[in-house]
């Protein structure tokens, strides 16, 4: 009986190691699941200066989250894109997904629009890296 339990534990542990948790899967690009690289959905470069390489589940547009990765493929932020007209209309955005990472700091930045969210909106960015590392995403 003990032997069977040991085998089950070993197999189970192996499966857990072989299949990363959703959080672990999102820590490196590509995040998998329903997430698609944004440049395959709309006319944006693969790497967006200032933000990184973006992935999003199209079902969550426009709010997101958009998962952003640096040049090394490491998750650096989750971004929510909230149109001004929705804010002015007092629209609620509830139960937005988050990445299971420690948030270093938050930016809320106005954006005039871009393909995919072609209207003025705010980028609400939960950064998982320091401001210094975030600034390295400029190019």
């Amino acid at each position: 009986m003990k032997r069977l339990a040991l085998i089950a534990l070993t197999v189970g542990t192996g499966l857990m190691l072989a299949q990363p948790t959703p959080a672990a899967a999102q820590s490196s690009a590509p995040p998998g699941g329903a997430y698609k690289i944004v440049s395959s959905l709309v006319a944006l470069p693969d790497f967006v200066p200032g933000l990184g390489t973006l992935y999003v589940d199209p079902a969550t547009l426009p709010a997101g989250p958009f998962l952003a990765y640096d040049h090394q493929g490491k998750l650096v932020s989750s971004i929510y894109m909230i149109p001004l007209k929705d804010m002015n209309a007092h629209k609620a955005f509830s139960d937005l997904k988050v990445a299971h990472e420690r948030v270093d700091h938050v930016d809320m930045l106005y954006n005039a629009g871009h393909p995919g969210v072609a209207e003025p909106h705010y980028h609400m960015i939960l950064w998982y890296v320091s401001p210094q590392r975030a600034s390295q995403l400029a190019k």
Binding site: A43, G50, L109, Y110, N111, A112, G113, H114, P115
Partner: protein
């Protein structure tokens, strides 16, 4: 009107302006006016520079993306039901998205009149431009709502408020030839 779309880096654009003739010689380019498509680094502020331009009929206008992602799109019902703000006889254009710095698009404007255009992802933020070709006439010289109530305009879109307030005055364009935006 003819349009050409290029995705060449800046270094390749000089050659792009020449036309290769059947005899193997190059014809010198006709006049080309450049309009830059700009943005600050965060994408918060976007603009065409110059925002107002006067050209003679037959002039080629080239839009070049410097930062961010932009389009140069004529105000015309064929462009997603936007209202008509170019001469009736002119052919509308839409550059599509110019994604990378240096991507460019050009149109040769032959029909006299006022041509209003916009950037598709940034129209709501007020990124528009105006070109006067030869003289001030046509729908682009009319008030923004000139078409309201007229037959055949069902579904036309109003010019957004943020765009309306940014159009340079036609008289100023005629006087100065190149009108730069306050930020540009």
């Amino acid at each position: 009107m003819q349009s050409r779309r290029h995705f060449l880096k800046a270094g390749g654009m000089v050659l792009a302006g020449f036309e290769l003739l059947p005899n193997g010689l190059f014809r010198l380019p006709s006049a080309v006016e450049v309009i830059e498509m700009r943005s600050d680094s965060g994408g918060a502020h976007v603009w065409f520079d110059p925002i107002g331009l006067y050209v003679e009929p037959g002039t080629t206008v080239r839009w070049i993306a410097r930062e961010n992602v932009h389009t140069a799109t004529a105000y015309h019902p064929r462009n997603n039901h936007h209202s008509l703000r170019i001469p009736e006889r002119a052919v509308p254009w839409d550059s599509g998205f110019l994604v990378h710095p240096g991507d460019h698009f050009e149109v040769t404007l032959t029909v006299p009149g006022v041509y209003d255009y916009f950037c598709a992802p940034h129209e709501a933020a007020g990124m528009i431009g105006r070109i006067v070709v030869g003289r001030s006439e046509g729908p682009g010289a009319q008030p923004f709502d000139y078409w309201v109530g007229r037959a055949g305009t069902d579904g036309w879109l109003q010019v957004p408020d943020a765009a309306r307030k940014n159009f340079p005055n036609i008289a100023r364009i005629l006087a100065e030839r190149r009108v730069h935006p306050p930020r540009g």
